[in-house]
Each structure stands twice: as structure tokens, then as C-alpha cells.
Amino acid sequence: MTRHDATLRRRRRRALLRVRIVVAGAGALALALLLVAAVLELPEGPLGLAEEAAAQLAHTGVDHAVTAVLLNYRSYDTWLEVGVLLLAVMAIFALRGGAHLENVRPAPRRDPLLTWLTRLLIPMLTLTAGYLLWLGKFAPGGAFQAGVVLGAAGAMLRLSGTPSLDRIGDVAIRILLAVGFLAFLVAAVATRLAGLDMLELPPGRAGDIILMVETLATISIATTCAVLVMAMPGAESPPAIAAKDVRKEART
Amino acid sequence: MPAIDYTFWILPAILATSFITGVATFFLKETHANLRAWMNMLAAAVKVALVVAVMEGFFSGESFEMRFSIALGFDFLLRIDALSLLLTALSTALWFLTTLYAVGYMKGSENLNRFFGFFSLCVTASVGVAIAGNLITFFIFYEFLTLATYPLVVHKGTERAVAAGRTYIWYTLTGGSVLFIGIVWLYVLTGPVDFTPGGVVAGLVDDHPIELIAIFAIMMLGLGVKASLVPLHGWLPVAMIAPAPVSALLHAVAVVKAGAFGIVRVIYDVYGIAFSATLGVLTPLAVVAAITIIYGSLRALGQDELKKRLAYSTVSQLSYITLGATIPGLMSTTGSLVHLIHQGVMKITLFFCAGAIQITMGMTRVSEMSGLARRMPVTCACFTIGAFGMIGAPPTAGFISKWHIGVGSAQAGQEWVILVLLISSALNAAYFLPIVRSMWFGEERRFALEASTGAGRREAHESLLVPMIVTALCSILFGLLASWSLSPLNMARIIAETLYITE
């Protein structure tokens, strides 16, 4: 294929690309106009469930409305959502071919500033995570925020090269990851067996059940975030197959 | 009353005999040749016995029906009436003979389990077509027949056989889908409707005739593929690549008869002959049938392959049935119905002979067959009888049906039909007689196989001869003893009368 054909082909592909950009742009703009028009026609005034949620707050065992919605009114959603997190980790294990984290990429070289910073920040991060978890009962905070902050602490450990989750065995990792999902599962099964609707928390003990479930959820969210950062499939294996024939196989 | 209501269970039993044998044959070992042969023969015998019992019961006034409702708004209905008895008798009898023939013919070739399995499934389908009580059940077996015949057409497994199978499938499935649309459209208009002599549609709907004509046209297109009307007959010569017993039973009796039988059912039991005449749909169909008759015979003239010539002769002979059916009149309907039987018997004789010649002498071309009678006198005699039947010479059955169609069309004032009959008989003579002449009076040619097998008589294996002789005798007896009470002609007359009385 002479150079001329190559440039011709590239010019044709670039022209094709330009057409695609213009079309996509026009489409996106049209959609934007439709959405803006729809937004302008939205009904005014309070419509949502603010009052109902506030009114029933007393029975949910939690004072903060959002936590009540998350862990009592719509706890089924949160359960599926923790399931999504668990699935993401399972998918990454599927990509890596196994849950063992031993052969995780070697940590980058340790530089003194980062190690000092981690030694300072890690305790603070865990403390804030705990506080956030506790805060969830009566102020904005809760499982996700605490979990993600702890996860950030895990990521920090990973970046600074200090060994953390990759030292724990395979079974321990699996338990830590699944504990959030299991918490909701046990709650659902228990409420079913106790004759209540699924995930219906008895008003009396709702508060502490929510706290317990929240803590387990925080643990599993933190571990998930840390594993997400740690177990990213890196460049362990050199590119085995050239890009072209992979796409060719994908297309035939 | 016997414990089980045998009038309910006998019909599914008839179907089951060949269905179960078919499925069972799949699971046999390839080596169990004689077990397979005996199993199929036994099944054929049992089926013949059952059909005789049903026939005897029918004539003594009992009615046999099996109905269970499918929630789609119609019932799955198997029912014996005079018309279905005709085709059932034909299929079962000829299946018995063809199984015998096939055992002899296929000895030694592979994939026999698959062959005999699908062979029995085909017969189940063709009997099912015969005893179907309404259009939807008819369609179910009609399509089942297509599926069961495909593996037989491609049995040899060569590229050519598979290519032939593909054309066969394209034609028959297109026909099937078009017929499906017709049936659904009729169902939408008239609701669930069973076959009743004298037609059902007339009373139900008279406010939109155009739709009815359209439905009739669509149905004729769908059925025309299997009944090999002119533009849609392309698959029949191509499917001749299948082994001889397949061509014999399927392409002379089962598959094509399903199409012709369907046309008769639609004209008489769905639309009713009188209503279709008023609708004016019959004349175009008659014209197409006439064209097919002439065209089929013309094409047959030019074929050097014996089986191809027989295929084109089937194309034209079948249209006799359609032609007879479209002419309103007692005689012509009887002629058309009785031709259903006669053509089956005669054509199967010719295919048996063609198969025998191919197996024993390895000859498939007409030009090679001069002086064959000296080597295979019995086969050639049967071939001659079959040929004369096709031409319509007096003592044979062919003459009877052509005579009835001719007289019927004269009574109905459509003389041009007689002209068509004459031309086609002449053409039949033109492409059959030269073969017969060269067989008997042609000088002996050095036969390729002679060196190895020595001079003198070299008849086919007796398992090929017996069915051939039986069918040849039948084609004569049906002609000579036409007036006998149990003859096919008499049965056809009874059916015709039932169709017209309730008009």
C-alpha cells in the first residue's frame, strides 16, 4: 500500500470523522433543546416526597432524612447498589483471573515525603470515616461517605507502597468484600422469617439495626474501593496479539 | 361400548404407528438392517389394518373424530370423511409397498436409520394431511411434510443433493408461508371454521368478495407450489436427485398429492363449488391447470433422463386433478378424485421401474434403454402398463379418469377442456411410446454391465419386482373393474355425491 493510499485513506477517515462529529453535535444540540424546553415546562412548586419522608422520620429510628430514605424507606435500592459494587469487584477479579491479590503490581519506589504524609493522614482518615459513619444518624453522613473515605485511605496506602490489603489471604478479602451485601441479605431473610415485609425494620430497634448494617456496609465499601484501586489490571503481560487482528476477529 | 372410545383414538393411532416407528428407527444401530426392515414392514401392515378397519366402520355409518382445542381460537381436528378416506387408503397402501421396495433398493447404502426414520415421518405427515378436519390442522401437517421430506431429498449428502434440497426448501417454505397468510386472513374474516362439504364461507361472509378472491388466490399460490402448477413447479424435477423410493412415494404420491388434495379441500369444503363459481375464481385456476398440463408434457418430451421425464409427466398429470376439480359437475369431480388414486398408482409403478433399471443395469437415460426388454422383461412389462395408463389407453385406470373429466366438462359446457385432454394424451403418447418401442423392439445395445454379468435374463431383485407388479396390476384392475362397488371409481362417485347433495 503506497504512501499515497495511506494518506488518502487517512484523509477519507478524517473526513468521515468530521461528518460524524457534526452529526453528533447536531443531535446533542437538538436533545439539549428538547430537554431545556421540557425543563421549562416542568410544574412549579413542591411535588416530591419531602413532607411524607419528614413526617414518618420518627418511625425510622434515624433523624437524618437522607439516611432514613437510604437505609429504611428504600433499603432495597441500597442493597442492590452494594450488590453493584460487589459485582464490580467480581468483574475485576474475572479480568485478573482470580481473586488473589498476591501478584498485584509491585508498589512504586517509596519516597520519604509520601511515607511521612501517609503516616500522618491514615489515622486522621480512619477517624473521620468513623465519625462520618456515626454522624449519619442525625446529620449528613453515613455509610457511603465513610466507606469512600476509608477507601481513599486504602488507596493512599497502596500509592505509598505500604503493604495493606494485598497481605490478607484470599478468603479474608472475599469476606470483607461480601460483608455489606450479606448484612442486607441477613436483614432481608431475618425480616422475612419474622413474618414482617422484606427488609421491614421494627420501629423500636430500627436505629441500631441501621447502624449495624451501615458499619458492615462501610467496611465492604472501603475494601471494594481499595481493591478497585489495587487490583487494576496493569501491564503485567506484554501485548500478546496485535490490535489489528483482535478487531478483525471481533468483527468477523 | 369398549373401555376407550375407539372412534376417538383410532385416528391418532393411525398417525402414531408410523410416527413412533419413525422416531424409534432413529435410535436403532446402523447395523440392525433386518430389525429395521421388519419394524417398518410391521408398522406399515398395522397401519393398513387400521385403515381397513376405519374404512369398514365408515361404510357402516360410524363417524370417527378426534378434536382437542388449542387456545389459539381453533381446534386441532382429525376427522374421517369420504374425501380423506380416499387419500389415506392411497398413502397407507403405497407406503407398505414402497417400504418393501426401499428395503431392497437401499441395501448397502449408509445413513439408513435417518432415511427410514424420516420416511415414516413423511407418511405420518401425508396421512395427517388426509385426515385433517380443518384448514389449520391441514396446514400443520402440510408444513410438517415439508420438514420431513428435506432430509430425504438431501439423503445422498453430495453437493448437488444439498443444492437440490435448498431449492426444494425455498419453493415449499415460500408456498407454506403464503398459505399461512391466506389461512390467517380467512380465520380473521370467518373465525374458526371446519371442512364441511358444500363449503362454509358462502353463508358467513358476502359483504367483501374482493377479500375472499384475494384469499383464494393466496391459498392457490400456497398450495400450487406443492401441486406443482406451472410457475411454481421448479422444485419437482430438481428434487429427482433423491433415491428412487423417495421419488416414488413422495414426489409421485405424498408431497404432490398434499397440494392437489389441498386445492380440492379448499374448493369443495371451504369455499364450496357453487360459491367459488359465482365468485368466478375457478376459470383462471382451470386455465393455469390447462397450461400446466400442456407445458408439463412439452417439457417431458425434451428430457433424456428417465426420472426427469417422469417428473414433468407428474407435473402435467397432477393438473388433471386441479382441472377436474375446477369444473362444476358430478362427473368431472368424480374424474378428478379418482385420478388422485389412479395417477398415484400408475406413477409409482413407473418410478419403481425406473429405480429397478437404475439399480440393476445402472441406466438412467432413455437413450440407453433400447432392447432392454430382453434383459428385464417383467420390469419393462410393468413400465409399459404404467405408460399406457398415463396415455389413457382404454383398459387402464388412466382412461377412466380422463373419460370422466372429459364427459363432465362436456356436461358443464366447457368443451375446451376436452381439447386440452386430447392434446395432452397425444403428448403423453409422444414421450412414452418411444421408450416402450425402444425397450421391446429396439436392437440390443452392448450393455455396459454385460461383460461382468453374462448374457440372458437379468431381472431386478424380487423385493423390487413384487411391489412393481402389484401396482401395475392395480392400475389395470382399477380400469377393468371400475364398476365394482369397492373400486376407487365407486368411492369417488360417493364422495362427489356427498359434495353436491348438500349444495
Binding site: L35, Y73, A88, L196 | L72, I140, V154, G157, T158, V184
Partner: protein, 499 residues
């Protein structure tokens, strides 16, 4: 008393957690069989409960509709759950062998992760069919997408990863567009429950915008014609049981949600033009998918393109149930036929497609590759698999003795009854093209083998799983009363009560 609705979701989730926590070889088989058995039992209990005492509804975590999430099971959802259960358990039986140590096709990592992923997918499929809350449906759709993509990547082959990536991006875009629709609906109705939104009649620009977004998102996830680019590579490059799960079950979930929105939330029938548009896209899918399938040289790609085509049939329900601008229903008398026809097509397609993919899996295992040309003489070597593929083909083509025929019959009756005869032409051409590629596949099986090549033995259970599915897809065409009565319990297609 046991509330089967909850257990239809709990049982697979319990199985999935156990399978994830105990990945050891010794535990795998008992957990898998136990989970499948428990789920089938709860599905059976749910069916009998709905059969005897009509549609059920349960408010989760004790809070009634506007605040809490409701689970509702009417005839249509139970029909889909039974479909998922039956097809899922038979695929599970195949997977029990495929992901066991007997087969050398899979590495230990795959075997450990298949069951957790598949059981969570199964649980969330049941969750979607039961959920009556549009945001909950979003989260469940997301779970399904992630689990499905993870299952595709299990095989680890390079082109499987590329196909999985394309599927993930498309599905992620679909979910976000669906979520934007949910947001718009919440902004106009202030509630998330299907029943509450359906009661509030409010048709304005926001509603139309919401439907446009949700319909596009769901159509993207169901791979309707213009947006089907991701399906063929994804469904053909995955392992056999995974492709069966994707084609037969996962694709139907987003279609089910679209149907729920069409009948319930958006009073779909009022949108005649939208119905016609969806119908035309469906017809284009039928023709284009079948045409593409005819050009394939590998069996799994052929079957994947056939999925694209068969999905087109499902979308014919929209024009048939739409109401003409003049107000009277297009197919006034034939709504039941249209709805039962399409649901029945979903069922028979699921059975037939799963049978074909499992059959293709057997061919892949025995012949080493699923190229059509080396299926030569297959009818002698693998008679049961050829028989299964043939019967599944018969059901796909809609030939009489099969479930596909009943579905085609109902859809054509509805189309002719509605006077929209052009759909009938599409079905006619689609049926013939389907026959084209089915016999394109079968012709290789009948061609006699030239050089007898050495093959790996195909043990019986996997062939029987494929055969069982194929036979079911035919037998389902015989006994129709009970499924039809089941389908209309709880009035899932609420056009009838319109004035």
C-alpha cells in the same frame, strides 16, 4: 406464611453469596444445584400463588408506595419469571458441566466466578420482573449489565474483551438515558411507583421527553435495529452458556421494562406515531438481522444475528396496540392476540435460542471451532445436537408444531385484524430469511463428511440439555390454555378498560 415473591429474589442472592464466599471446587456443585433448586421452588410457589389468588403486591421495608418500593407480580411478570427459571436452570445444568473440571475449556478462575455472577444476574432478572418502582428498575438493570459484561469477560479471549467493552459502553449510555427519563418523571409526578405515576394523567412535553429518553435507553439495551451494533460480537464471543443467557434472557428484561412503561406509565397507545416508529424499526431489525445472519460463516455469529432479527418481532406489539389519532384502538378486537402473541414469541425464542447456543457450544467443544464448513457430516457424529439445532430452527422459523408457530399465528391475526397488513409482509419475508439461515446451518450437517477427522468425545448431559430446551420450545406450542390464562391475570396490558 412464605411470601414467594421475596424468595424469588432472595434464593439466587443467597446462592450467589455462598458461591462467592466458598469458591472451592468441593462446594461448587452442591451450592449451584441447591441455588437452582431453591429458585425453581420459589418460582413454582409464586406461580401457584398468582394462579390461585391473582396478582400480588408487597411493600418492601414496610412502607407503602410513594415512600417505599413495591414488588408486584401479575400474570405477565410471572410468565417472564417462569421463562427465566426454566431456561436458566437448563443453562445451569449445561454450565455445571462446562464450568467443571471435566471440561478443559475453562480455567479454574472462570469456574470459581461463573456461579456468583450468574446467580446474581438471575436474582436481578427476577427483581426487574417483580419491581414496580422505576428507580429500582434502574439499579437492577445496572446489576444485570455489570454481571452480563463480567460473564462475557470470563473467557478472557482478546475479542471477548473488546466485545464486552463495546457492550458495557452501550449499556452504560442506555442506563444513563433511562435514568434521565426517571428524573424527568419524578420531576413531573413526584413519585417513583409505576401504579401512582400511571394514575396521574399528565401528558406534556416533559412526559414526551421522558418517554423518548427511556425508550431510547431501553431500546439500546435491547439492541433494537439501529442500536444493535454491540450484540453480535458480544453474544458470539462469550462462552456457550453465557451467550445463551445473554440472548435468551438478558435481552428480554429491558424489553419487559419498555412494555411496562408503554402500557402503564405513558398510556402508550395514545402515541400512535411512536408505535408505528417502533414497529418500523422492529421490521427493519427483522429484515436486517436475518440478512446479516445469512452472510455469516461461523455458527455463533449466525445465531447472534438471528437474535437481532427475532427481537424485531417483539417490537411489533407497539403499533398493534397503539390507538389511532382518532381515538379508537387500531386493533380493537385483537389486543389480546397481539400481547399474548408477543409474550409467547419471547418465550419460544428464549427456549429455541438457548438450545441453539448450547448446541453451538457442543459443536465448538467437539470440533474445536464453530465454523459452519467444518460441521460437515455432523448429523452422523452428533445426531442429538443436530436434532436439537433442527428443532430449535423449526421453532424460530415459526413452523407449525412449535411455540414459534403459535406466536406467529397470534401476531399475524392481530396484524390482519388491525388492518395493518404490512407487518404481515415483514413477518412473511422475515420467516423466509430465517428459514434461509437455518437451512444454511443444517445443510452443512447433512453434507457427507469427506475426511473423517478425529474428534473429542461429546458426553451426553450437555447434548441432552440442548435437546431438552429444543423439545420444550416445540412442546410449548401444544398446550396453550394455561400459559394464556396465566398471562392475563392482573390485567398487565391495561388497554381493555379504556372507554
Amino acid at each position: 406464611m412464605i411470601e414467594p415473591m421475596a424468595w424469588c429474589i432472595l434464593a439466587p442472592f443467597i446462592g450467589a453469596s455462598l458461591a462467592f464466599l466458598l469458591p472451592g471446587r468441593v462446594w461448587r456443585r452442591p451450592i449451584a444445584i441447591g441455588a437452582i433448586g431453591a429458585t425453581l421452588a420459589s418460582v413454582w410457589m409464586l406461580t401457584s400463588q398468582v394462579w390461585n389468588s391473582g396478582a400480588q403486591r408487597m411493600d418492601l421495608s414496610g412502607w407503602p408506595a410513594p415512600l417505599g418500593i413495591g414488588l408486584a407480580a401479575d400474570g405477565f411478570s410471572v410468565f417472564m419469571i417462569v421463562m427465566t427459571g426454566v431456561v436458566g436452570s437448563l443453562i445451569g445444568a449445561y454450565a455445571l458441566w462446562h464450568y467443571s473440571d471435566l471440561s478443559d475449556a475453562t480455567e479454574p478462575a472462570e469456574r470459581r466466578l461463573f456461579w456468583p455472577l450468574w446467580l446474581i444476574l438471575w436474582g436481578s432478572l427476577n427483581a426487574i420482573y417483580l419491581s414496580s418502582d422505576i428507580f429500582n428498575i434502574y439499579v437492577a438493570l445496572e446489576v444485570i449489565t455489570l454481571a452480563a459484561v463480567a460473564l462475557i469477560t470470563l473467557s478472557g479471549k482478546a475479542e471477548a474483551l473488546v466485545a464486552a467493552m463495546r457492550y458495557l459502553l452501550a449499556a452504560f449510555l442506555g442506563s444513563l438515558s433511562y435514568l434521565m427519563g426517571v428524573a424527568l418523571l419524578y420531576a413531573t409526578h413526584g413519585a417513583l411507583d409505576l401504579v401512582i405515576i400511571a394514575d396521574q394523567e399528565r401528558a406534556g412535553l416533559p412526559e414526551v421527553g421522558a418517554f423518548a429518553l427511556m425508550a431510547t435507553g431501553l431500546a439500546l439495551k435491547t439492541a433494537l435495529f439501529p442500536m444493535h451494533f454491540w450484540l453480535p460480537p458480544a453474544h458470539s464471543k462469550a462462552a456457550a452458556p453465557v451467550s445463551a443467557i445473554l440472548s435468551a434472557l438478558v435481552v428480554k428484561a429491558s424489553f419487559y421494562v419498555l412494555l411496562r412503561l408503554w402500557f402503564g406509565v405513558f398510556d402508550g397507545p395514545a402515541m400512535y406515531a411512536v408505535g408505528i416508529l417502533l414497529g418500523t424499526l422492529g421490521s427493519a431489525a427483522i429484515i436486517w438481522g436475518a440478512f446479516q445472519a445469512l452472510r455469516q460463516m461461523s455458527l455463533k455469529l449466525l445465531i447472534a444475528h438471528s437474535t437481532v432479527a427475532q427481537i424485531g418481532y417483539l417490537f411489533l406489539i407497539f403499533p398493534l396496540t397503539a390507538r389511532r389519532p382518532s381515538g379508537e384502538l387500531a386493533a380493537a378486537g385483537w389486543i389480546t392476540e397481539a400481547c399474548t402473541g408477543v409474550s409467547y414469541h419471547a418465550l419460544s425464542h428464549a427456549l429455541a435460542k438457548a438450545a441453539m447456543f448450547l448446541g453451538a457450544g457442543v459443536v465448538l467443544h467437539v470440533y474445536g471451532s464453530d465454523l459452519l464448513t467444518n460441521m460437515r457430516g455432523m448429523s452422523r457424529r452428533l445426531p442429538i445436537t443436530t436434532f436439537a439445532l433442527a428443532i430449535a430452527g423449526v421453532s424460530l422459523m415459526g413452523l407449525p408444531p412449535s411455540g414459534g408457530f403459535a406466536a406467529k399465528w397470534l401476531i399475524v391475526t392481530a396484524a390482519l385484524g388491525a388492518g395493518q397488513w404490512w407487518w404481515v409482509l415483514v413477518i412473511l419475508i422475515g420467516g423466509l430469511l430465517t428459514a434461509g439461515y437455518i437451512f444454511l446451518m443444517l445443510r452443512w450437517a447433512f453434507i457427507s463428511e469427506d475426511a473423517p477427522i478425529q474428534l473429542r468425545p461429546a458426553n451426553m448431559p450437555i447434548q441432552l440439555a440442548a435437546l431438552a430446551l429444543a423439545l420444550l420450545s416445540v412442546l410449548v406450542g401444544f398446550r396453550l390454555e394455561e400459559p394464556f390464562q396465566l398471562l392475563v391475570i392482573g390485567d398487565p396490558f391495561p388497554i381493555f378498560d379504556l372507554p
